[in-house]
Symmetry: C2
Subunit: 320 residues, 2 copies
């Protein structure tokens, strides 16, 4: 994926995705020991950066593909994003979700105009269900991360960040399947070649850390973390290739580091961020990367679709 | 209080208070039936608009007064704001707080550099404690709302809102003691004379509604609401005079209307707002003001210093 694709995505997203604000806090800077710039994708439409990649992918389809419709599998933010993108572009969107998905997530997808197809996760694999429907109905598959148009769309968040904040020394982004991180790397390194790009994962879902170390895609079969947006078992071949070449380093944060950072974001910055969205800032707070002190550091807060009660309980449990 | 005082306050606050972002949401607009512009004072320093008035008041003191120091009584956002303003201006700031104040609020004031003086609320009145210390030590009193420099400072939020969002038809603000609302009215009506200014109170703390109806200051001896920032028992003479003349109307919202609006702000807009800060939007959502439909409506979200666990419990209790 090339920078020109990110630029083209940015043009398509004009008037569709929010140009989300970049917020700062003196308290945060004092605690972090550097000037931190929070790119608030939790304030994005659908509550996460995912609309960028989903819309870009759907808008990039041929007329014939758009008429046929699209399919994806995701019970999370990508599913909602594909549903909304379909509605905005008048493209039929099928979202494959497990029968066990929370009602609120099913309702969110339907609220954005998506058609939900359920499967029994005890008996079926979501990829197989999607592949069968895709073949039967001639639908285009829009996977959650391993797709050039999806990766390019996600890169528009960092594009805006680097445009809006001059002279950044580093940009940190969470890594799930690597769509956001690979887009962030290509955008940042094109616009500001001297800036460092750092990817962050939970310790219990460190597939990209392990893959970069091993020099090949390593699977984590049983990821364990509250950061439920970062639980893909493996990077894709496309995202891995970009991360390996263009991300300076991968780091991990543990669950307590995520929790305390999330509590800071909610209680001091007044931002509802989901656990997955806080790992970039957690790495800054907990000094996981040498050389950031005194610098100008961009951090992508990737999403805000948290279960408020569950997060509040998490805060209380750790204080007790 | 005149518009020129608000302009002067805005100049003093440059580089001190954040020019807070104005956020929008298509989902919100669809539900409200008008274009809503959220002035996010929950993202202000100290988590509320109060730093505007406090800093302006302290910066307006004479050199001799600044050397002597200031005193205020507030266990809430104003106390924190005076503490921070004192720190920024190198003015000694005493904050009178009850012995029963939550430790977290005492810690917040001390964290901002304030000196805390406690009193026993069962035996003493906070105004008397403050007056005695003020006299003994020659301190300047910075009351929470009934003071021209405080009111002018609070008016800078609406000043920015009206400057940043062209052609507003109306501006809504919460009303506690009336400092924010009176400043909002003077700023809005000067810059955009055709715009309506509407004040909002909880039903259980409707002193301004009652006062405007009666044509005199009416006290509410036992205010009852979760919006704990809006619980002063009465307006001041200065705030009442401005509200009577320049606020088109006062409306009330009930606790369930506050709760559902707050839940929308947290879960959909991803903004941590305190109950007091949501009453303006609650009035829009629940159609308390005729004639807003289809218009451009500014709403001040006045603060975000919420107890996260308590708010999460409130959301759950109502769903159960």
């Amino acid at each position: 994926m090339e920078f020109a694709q990110i630029e083209a995505a940015a043009a398509r997203l004009q008037g569709v995705a929010h140009r989300t604000p970049v917020l700062t806090s003196r308290t945060l800077d004092a605690l972090a020991g550097c000037a931190v710039f929070l790119k608030c994708e939790n304030l994005q439409r659908t509550g996460a950066f995912k609309i960028r990649g989903a819309y870009n992918a759907l808008a990039s389809l041929s007329d014939a593909q758009q008429r046929a419709g699209v399919i994806t599998y995701s019970s999370g933010n990508h599913g909602q994003a594909v549903a909304l993108a379909g509605k905005l572009l008048a493209i039929r969107a099928l979202i494959v979700m497990p029968t066990t998905a929370p009602k609120v997530k099913v309702a969110a997808v339907k609220g954005y105009g998506g058609e939900v197809v359920t499967y029994d996760p005890a008996r079926q694999e979501r990829e197989e269900v999607a592949a069968q429907l895709q073949a039967e109905r001639g639908l285009a598959l829009v996977p959650p991360f391993n797709h050039p148009a999806v990766m390019a769309g996600q890169g528009t968040a960092a594009l805006e960040l680097v445009q809006d904040v001059p002279e950044l020394d580093a940009v940190l982004a969470p890594c799930g399947g690597g769509g956001l991180l690979s887009g962030t790397a290509v955008a940042t390194r094109h616009l500001r070649p001297g800036a460092r790009v750092i990817g962050v994962e939970p310790e219990g879902a460190a597939k990209a850390n392990l893959s970069v170390q091993a020099g090949r895609i390593v699977r984590v079969e049983h990821p364990q973390t509250k950061a439920d947006g970062l639980m893909p078992k493996a990077l894709g071949d496309l995202t891995f290739a970009v991360i390996r070449e263009q991300v300076e380093r991968m780091v991990t944060v543990n669950e307590e580091e995520i929790r305390s950072t999330l509590e800071f974001l909610w209680s001091r910055c007044k931002l509802v961020v989901e656990p997955s969205g806080a790992v970039g800032l957690a790495a800054v707070f907990h000094r996981k990367v040498a050389g950031l002190a005194g610098g100008r550091v961009g951090v992508i807060l990737s999403g805000g679709n948290a279960d408020i009660g569950a997060v509040a309980d998490w805060f209380r449990a750790e204080r007790a």
